[in-house]
């Protein structure tokens, strides 16, 4: 459901940018990133709100020679 056209009329705008140092990624994604030695703060998340999905780590898996489909 793509209805995230955030309507948030009465939200007090805050000074800060979203300062969370921990990229939005599920534990399974974080584990795979550790296995692959990937720094998640440098990965672009394709999920809703930039959430990093397992698929986003596919480019970091051992290169499969024939199909170069999924380069980020």
């Amino acid at each position: 459901r793509g209805a995230q056209a955030a309507r948030s009329p009465s939200v007090t705008p805050s000074n800060g940018h979203s300062s969370n140092p921990q990229p939005p990624a599920a534990p399974s994604v974080r584990m795979l990133a550790r296995k692959l030695g990937v720094d998640l703060t440098r990965v672009h998340g394709s999920g809703p709100h930039g959430r990093i999905l397992l698929d986003d780590l596919t480019p970091f898996l051992a290169p499969k020679p024939s199909n170069g489909v999924r380069a980020a």
Binding site: S8, S18, A26, K35
Partner: protein, 474 residues
């Protein structure tokens, strides 16, 4: 002359840190030796902590609920207590059943269990004393020796009417008047049990409120209720001395508007716990210890000595059973050479009083202190159909979200069953969920879990059952 045993992995301590570490390692094919000096495996948690306290709290809850049913037109006679039977239920049907189960699990997984006290004699050896004296030489070691109740010297007057949590959970009797020193969760939980059994309970807390680590708005509903169940809660109050007399323990107090002296039939000292690291021979192994007795560890739960790890209460705070168990997995995976890392975004905390209080992730007071920007979205349970139908409307569910992205930073709940409900909050935080993820996840009606969904709704303006958005932006 003691035996010498060789083991790839030695685990010292069989509590919720140690025994899962041993099981987990065994499941991955490691040969493990587990040493514990207790009569039964399970550590503090199973033998004299989480488990007996919760069995008693369950009893207390039903006693209160039965009483409150009068408002619904259902009246019971006053409950009769058979303390011996209650003790037996807790110790035999609950504690021994579970500790026995752990014995079976370790056996089933082929873990060698050694009964005795282990003391390091070098970086790769411990000496075990007790029934099975021996030397154990290990390749890797996980220290999970836990913690002990703090008993400040001046209060250790050698009278068994002055108890720590271990003593109080054995239910020696139901004192007419009980003093609880320390308004932390252990004191309040055990105090609630005795209050339900008929004791007049007084709580003394040195700080200006009970449960200081929890957000005040979450503590308020509990405090209001405890004030009706307890004789008194004295905050900003110091205990200046205990004296054993024929009539009871005479206690000197110091605090504004607080009686200078009171006498109690029993006193529970619950002012914290200290890491169990003394006398372990850590210096012989070369393992550092902090001034307060904690063993410093890294993200893999490794001490300064690379093949020695520490988990549970003896390592870092918070001292919680589930934290110890989760660390066990990290330490074992590190030993197995996997890229394990201790990096939870939410360690839930639960106070099993009635109402319960539970939180996970960032608390509001932490966010305030750390200048973390947030919006606090609070859904009052008075607007929950479920809460109304069980007559428990004092609860509230609070969600802290990032003001920009609406990412969920923390969840706090006070109310009946909060301890089960917080699991959803933990998952949301760990998954990196935004409020919309929770609000669009359909929550069954009528349940209290709907309050989590409706607090998430507030991030986008209004919730179905709250007229005016209650939102605090920071």
């Amino acid at each position: 002359m003691p035996d010498v045993r060789e083991t790839p992995l030695l685990v010292i301590g069989g509590g919720p840190g140690g025994y899962p570490a041993a099981l987990h390692a065994a499941d991955h094919g490691l040969k493990v030796t587990l040493v514990d000096e207790g009569a039964k495996l399970g550590g503090v948690c199973l033998n004299r902590g989480c488990i007996p306290s919760k069995a008693l709290l369950h009893t207390a809850k039903i006693i209160r609920e039965a009483h409150e049913m009068a408002a619904y037109g259902v009246t019971f006679g006053d409950p009769q207590f058979d303390l011996a039977k209650l003790r037996d239920f807790v110790q035999t049907k609950v504690v021994s059943k579970l500790t026995g189960g752990i014995g079976q699990l370790t056996k089933g997984r082929g873990v060698d269990v050694v009964k005795g006290r282990a003391v390091f004699t070098g970086p790769n050896t411990v000496e075990v004393s007790g029934d099975q004296p021996q030397t154990i030489r290990f390749q890797n070691c996980i220290i999970a020796t836990g913690s002990l109740p703090a008993m400040p010297k001046p209060w250790a007057i050698g009278d068994d009417r002055v108890m720590d949590s271990t003593g109080a959970l054995l239910l020696p009797d139901v004192p007419k008047k009980l003093l609880v020193i320390g308004g932390g969760y252990i004191g309040l939980e055990i105090g609630s049990v005795y209050a339900a059994l008929g004791s007049k309970v007084t709580v003394v807390e040195a700080l200006d409120r009970i449960l200081f680590m929890a957000d005040k708005d979450l503590v308020d509903p509990l405090e209001r209720r405890l004030k009706t169940e307890f004789e008194a809660i004295y905050t900003n109050t110091k205990v200046m001395g205990l004296e054993a007399t024929k009539d009871g323990i005479a206690v000197k107090l110091e605090g504004a508007g607080v009686p200078a002296s009171l006498t109690f039939d029993r006193v529970l000292v619950s002012v914290g716990r200290r890491p169990n690291s003394a006398g372990l021979g850590l210096d012989k192994a070369g393992v550092h210890v902090s001034e307060r007795g904690f063993i410093p560890i890294d993200k893999q739960r490794r001490t300064n000595v690379p093949h020695i790890f520490a988990i549970g209460d003896v390592g870092e705070e918070p001292g919680l059973a589930h934290k110890a168990t989760a660390e066990a997995r990290v330490a074992v995976e590190a030993i197995l050479g996997e890229p394990a890392e201790w990096n939870p975004r939410a360690i839930p905390a639960v106070i099993f009083t009635d109402p319960e209080i539970a939180w996970a992730g960032v608390t509001q007071q932490e966010a305030d202190k750390g200048n973390i920007p947030y919006e606090a979205l609070t859904f009052p349970w008075a607007a929950s159909g479920r809460a109304v139908s069980i007559a428990r409307t004092e609860g509230r569910t609070k969600m802290l979200v990032d003001p920009e992205t609406k990412r969920i930073l923390g969840v706090g709940i006070v109310g009946a069953g909060a301890g089960e409900m917080i699991a959803e909050g933990v998952l949301a935080i760990e998954m990196g969920a935004v409020a919309r993820d929770v609000l669009e996840s359909i929550h069954p009606h009528p349940t209290l879990s709907e309050t989590v969904m409706e607090s998430a709704e507030l991030a986008y303006g209004a919730a179905t059952h709250v007229g005016k958005p209650r939102k605090v932006a920071k």
